[in-house]
């Protein structure tokens, strides 16, 4: 469920980064005000616990497929939403940097999808409301399942919105939603059951831990609500601003690229290998303009067959030029790497004659 860099546009990535950044600063601020520095090692160790527990696969009853645990609700129960959000953010950062899960730009999306919804929506509005300071087995079960399911549904919906909003993937909104939500409903039920089992286990073995955690902050619920409203306002503002910025900006960018490229086209016109390649171009009868950014996307998907015939600006040869240029670029990169490699090896050999060659 991790969002990937490859699927998001800069506008969406930046918006979510801003939202996640604001959320982290806010949580960090509240944690500092809380002045409970016992939480510092606790957060580190519990984050590591979620990490470790996620690596252990178990069999899902009746299906035989394997699942793993999600940590948002457990962490919120044990640490409170602020510390839980920071802990999830740290787990996601480590996953992005070490396991290439997600990516640097998608990190904002992932913190919102996987951290914000369980910690700041599902936990205070569902788990706390159901459990309500009176711990029983049934309440823990109902609260865990309901909050995990809601958290995952919101997260999955956010993935869909971010993907569709970015427009890199062609998946239409409806199909993607119909794909994601049921899958995450099933995952949510299993994760909720497991979460409740783990929480009940801790409650049975060491009741004081849970009682302390759930009784610790009755006031957090109210201020969270106020905070949620303000966060929603900020996000909507940001999204509106950035989407306006993003939609007006590319045109300007495209325009300047076109101008720049147009100029440089005129500048260089050596007639070198043209004769040989000219024949190739004549054979490749029809080459629509290579500049896809400019031609956006051919209007209808159904008119694929008619599109080449209708394309007005026939720029024979840009395709060939593009291919040759691609090969040349790759060749140049390879050449640079080989040169650098031999140079560094020479230096290493000079410094240390026993170094590996």
């Amino acid at each position: 469920m991790h969002m990937a860099d490859a699927l998001i546009s800069p506008a969406v990535g930046a918006t979510m980064w801003a939202a996640a950044g604001g959320l982290i600063v806010y949580s960090a601020h509240r944690l500092k005000a809380e002045l409970d520095e016992r939480k510092v090692p606790l957060m580190g160790v519990l984050g590591a616990f979620v990490f470790a527990a996620q690596m252990i696969n178990f069999t899902i009853p009746a299906t035989g497929s394997s699942g793993h645990i999600g940590g948002g609700i457990i962490l919120s129960i044990l640490l409170g939403p602020d510390a839980a959000l920071i802990t999830i953010a740290s787990i996601l950062t480590v996953q992005a940097l070490f396991f290439a899960d997600g990516g640097l730009l998608a990190l904002g999306c992932n913190i919102i999808n996987i951290g914000f919804f369980p910690c700041f929506v599902a936990y205070p509005l569902i788990f706390r409301k159901i459990v309500d300071d009176r711990l029983t087995r049934g309440r823990i079960l109902a609260g865990s399942v309901a909050s995990v399911v809601v958290g995952l549904q919101l997260g999955a919906l956010a993935v869909v919105l971010e993907t569709v909003g970015s427009g890199i993937s062609e998946l239409p909104f409806k199909a993607f939603v119909l794909l994601m939500q049921p899958i995450h409903l099933a995952i949510g039920c299993v994760e909720g059951l497991i979460t409740s089992a783990v929480v009940s286990f801790v409650w049975k073995a060491r009741p004081e831990i849970l009682e302390m955690a759930t009784l610790a902050g009755p006031g957090t619920g109210r201020s969270t609500k106020k905070f949620l409203a303000s966060l929603a306002a900020v996000t909507i503002l940001l999204a509106g601003f950035l989407s306006w910025f993003a939609s007006s900006r590319p045109d300007g960018l495209e325009w300047s690229i076109e101008r720049a490229a147009g100029k440089s086209e005129l500048a260089e016109a050596p007639h070198g290998l043209a004769a040989a390649l000219g024949r190739v171009q004549n054979m490749t009868a029809f080459l629509p303009d290579y500049d896809f950014r400019q031609s956006q996307k051919p209007a209808g998907r159904g008119v694929a067959a008619a599109a080449p015939a209708a394309a007005p600006a026939v720029n024979v040869g840009t395709s060939v030029a593009g291919l040759v240029g691609t090969a040349l670029t790759l060749g140049l990169v390879a050449l640079v790497s080989v040169i650098l490699k031999t140079r560094t090896q020479d230096r290493a050999a000079r410094q240390n004659p026993f170094a590996r060659s």
Binding site: A48, S90, E170, S264
Partner: protein, 270 residues
């Protein structure tokens, strides 16, 4: 369960690469963090039908891998393991977007294939940049740089502690799983009932451990932050590194270099 242990080994393997000595490793972590960010932003800012434009950006990972003396096969292996999500979502593009955008000889190439290729290229470039950042800088140095770049200290301290205890707790979890599997010879995978009590047990141990760690930290004078021993210094080389690469990214973003090169060689100008 050997899978957990191999994942741990993998985790430490990447960080261990940061112990090497190379011109790239010696750079200030802040320069490398900012350059990696600029790189990622440049990569995703290309249009989705632009397959050739971002290609010159390959120079960044390639040069860093070579100068930093990193094992390319190992990094590529990590990319392939991580690829399923981008692949699954991206593979719908060729199915849904069939309008022909270009032709290669007799072959019609649809926009979907091109945007699919562009998704894979973006995926590879951005993730490679993240892996290279860790392999040339090391996780703790990245955290230090983030602190200096005004990321809230609560988060950076949390990152360092998390990273420290991942190894401890994952090792503990792996030992528990092994103990279970030695007693349950006929079971291939853990039933969920066993898992929840095992995870609960691991959680209790984690809580106890956190308490011990807290006491140990208090007795060493901990008061809410971790102070680095090594000071960071931004030198001319660091500035040159960041500025040169950022300049290159801007150049690549505004000029389609493969196309210009192709025109230069084939001699086809408008």
């Amino acid at each position: 369960m050997s899978k957990i242990e191999s994942a741990l080994f993998d985790l430490s393997g990447l960080d261990a690469l940061a112990l090497q000595q190379s011109p790239i490793h010696r750079l200030d972590p802040r320069a490398k963090v900012l350059t990696a960010l600029a790189f990622a932003i440049t990569v995703v800012s290309f249009g989705k039908y632009d397959l050739t434009g971002p290609l010159p950006l390959l120079a960044y990972p390639v040069v860093l891998i070579v100068l930093g003396d990193l094992p390319p096969g190992y990094l590529l292996g990590k990319l392939i393991i991580a690829s399923p999500f981008a692949l699954v979502v991206g593979v719908f593009n060729p199915l849904l977007d069939r309008a022909a955008l270009t032709q290669l000889g007799p072959l019609n190439v649809s926009g979907g294939w091109i945007s699919f290729g562009s998704i894979l290229l973006r995926f590879g470039l951005t993730l490679l940049a993240a892996l290279i950042l860790i392999a040339t800088t090391g996780f703790n140095a990245v955290c230090l740089a983030l602190t200096r770049l005004r990321v809230p200290r609560v988060l950076t301290v949390q990152l360092m502690l998390l990273y420290r205890y991942i190894f401890v707790l994952t090792g503990e979890g792996a030992r528990m799983v092994r103990a279970w599997s030695l007693r349950a010879v006929s079971e291939r995978r853990m039933p969920s009932r066993i898992f929840s009590s095992l995870a609960g047990q691991l959680l209790l141990r984690a809580l106890d451990r956190a308490q011990r760690i807290h006491m140990a930290m208090l007795s060493r004078g901990f008061e809410g932050e971790i102070r680095p021993i090594r000071p960071l210094r931004l030198g001319a080389a660091d500035a040159a590194f960041a500025l040169a690469w950022t300049g290159f990214f801007v150049l690549v973003r505004f000029y389609n270099i493969p196309r210009l090169l192709g025109r230069l060689v084939t001699g086809i100008a408008q």
